[in-house]
Amino acid sequence: MKKAAGKIGIIIIVAAFWLAVWQLAAALVGSELLLPTPFSVLKTLFKLIKTVKFWQSLLHTLLRVLAGFALGIIAGTLLGTITASSKLLSAFLSPLRSIIKATPVTSFIVLLLLYFSPVTTPIAVCFLMVAPIAWANVSKGITETDPQLLEMTKAFKLGRAKTLKSVYIPSILPHFLTAATTGFGFAWKSCVAAEVIAMSRLSIGKALYESKLYLETPQLFAWTAAIIIISMLLEAVMVRLIGRLKKW
């Protein structure tokens, strides 16, 4: 209990310090257009969350992130399993992963807009960001599974299903969880970036772009703050879910 209180105290002190730095910088700049004060951003954020547009944009962006993330995790897990179990397939497919990883996200967004609508492009972008991460991690988890434990399962005739449940899944899980948490962060950021470029209807990205277009800097900051807060909340939810999965 004392420990928790101490931790919260530290968080408050650190947050207060950086808010003070921000406030000081804003005072020095002296222009709401270039750098709004924390108070002005907070006021705008409260105004924003009272609007229907805020919640609609949030919901649509969130659905796109979740769809792209889920598809990326599923595809990445499948590809990771395939490439870990066949050297030949790994040799054929691995360059694809390297190319996707090395390609700048903006190139993907512009390219995918040729094939997808502004609404679905962010989903495809999320997918392309998450899949290689899940692919690499799941593949690593499988190849690093303790061969002595696998021999044990053969000696005791555990069969495929039991070997999968008792050895492979627990060995892959830590790698999978790393992929899920890292991938979710990427999915969220790349989705908003794609929405900005694609001008996806009812999206956080479009709202961000419009704020910039109309030089509403406090609103730009407020949307960014909203993105950061939601991202942190979702990551906390995911860590909780993952904790439950680990216990299972």
Binding site: E151, A155, F156, S166
Partner: protein, 207 residues
């Protein structure tokens, strides 16, 4: 009776720059028999190929040439040299894992009985990571008893146990299995299992 006939086996390793694999011969024309109801000890220093013999017997690796006869339809249990327990499971779950053809409650009951037999009742629900080396050894022995079968292969099974416990555990293993293949470098251990024949690992390559 299990018969190993003219077994040859080499490990292949590739050295940097070499085009051909380097062959390290472990078994060269080696033959042996394990008769029903006997306790046979294979003795030798580490690195002499004793664990390779365990793997051959379990069918985990195939010999380069020669044959192993008499294993068809036989169930072989094993205590590996390393415990090979699942660190994410409890002692009880590790044992229940190898019990086939029972429902969950029966598996749990049987696992508890075997833990009691290996004097580990208090460790039943503890995760493997929290057990001492000697306790982990006994869990792996209890797992081998749970699997049961016609033959048991024991690769230095009593490592890390004190003298009194060694005696009791060996006695319990003998109660469950009449045909035993013991891999050890300790003559006293061979005596505890009543081994009436001893093969030296030095015969692996010269026989």
């Amino acid at each position: 009776m299990v018969r190993l006939k003219n077994i040859c086996f080499s490990y292949k390793s590739f050295e940097t720059g070499a085009h051909e694999p380097r062959l390290e011969c472990v078994f060269g024309d080696f033959s042996m028999e394990l008769r029903e109801g006997e306790a046979l000890a294979v003795m030798g220093e580490s690195g002499s190929g004793k664990t390779t013999l365990v793997k051959l017997m379990l069918g985990l690796i195939k010999p380069d040439s020669g044959s192993i006869e008499g294993l068809d339809g036989k169930r072989i249990s094993v205590v590996f040299q390393e415990d090979r327990l699942l660190p994410w499971y409890s002692a009880k779950e590790n044992i229940a894992l190898v019990l086939h053809g029972m429902d969950k409650a029966e598996r749990e009951q049987k696992a508890l009985e075997l833990l009691a037999e290996t004097e580990l009742s208090e460790a039943a629900d503890k995760p493997i990571r929290e057990l001492s080396g000697g306790m982990q050894r006994r869990v792996s022995i209890a797992r081998a008893l749970a699997f049961g079968g016609d033959i048991i292969i024991l690769d230095e099974p009593l490592k890390g146990l004190d003298a009194e416990l060694k005696k009791r555990v060996a006695e319990r293993i003998r109660r469950h299995f009449s045909t035993i293949l013991l891999i050890t470098h300790d003559e006293d251990e061979a005596a505890l299992f009543g081994c009436n024949r001893i093969i030296s690992a030095s015969e692996f390559r010269t026989a």
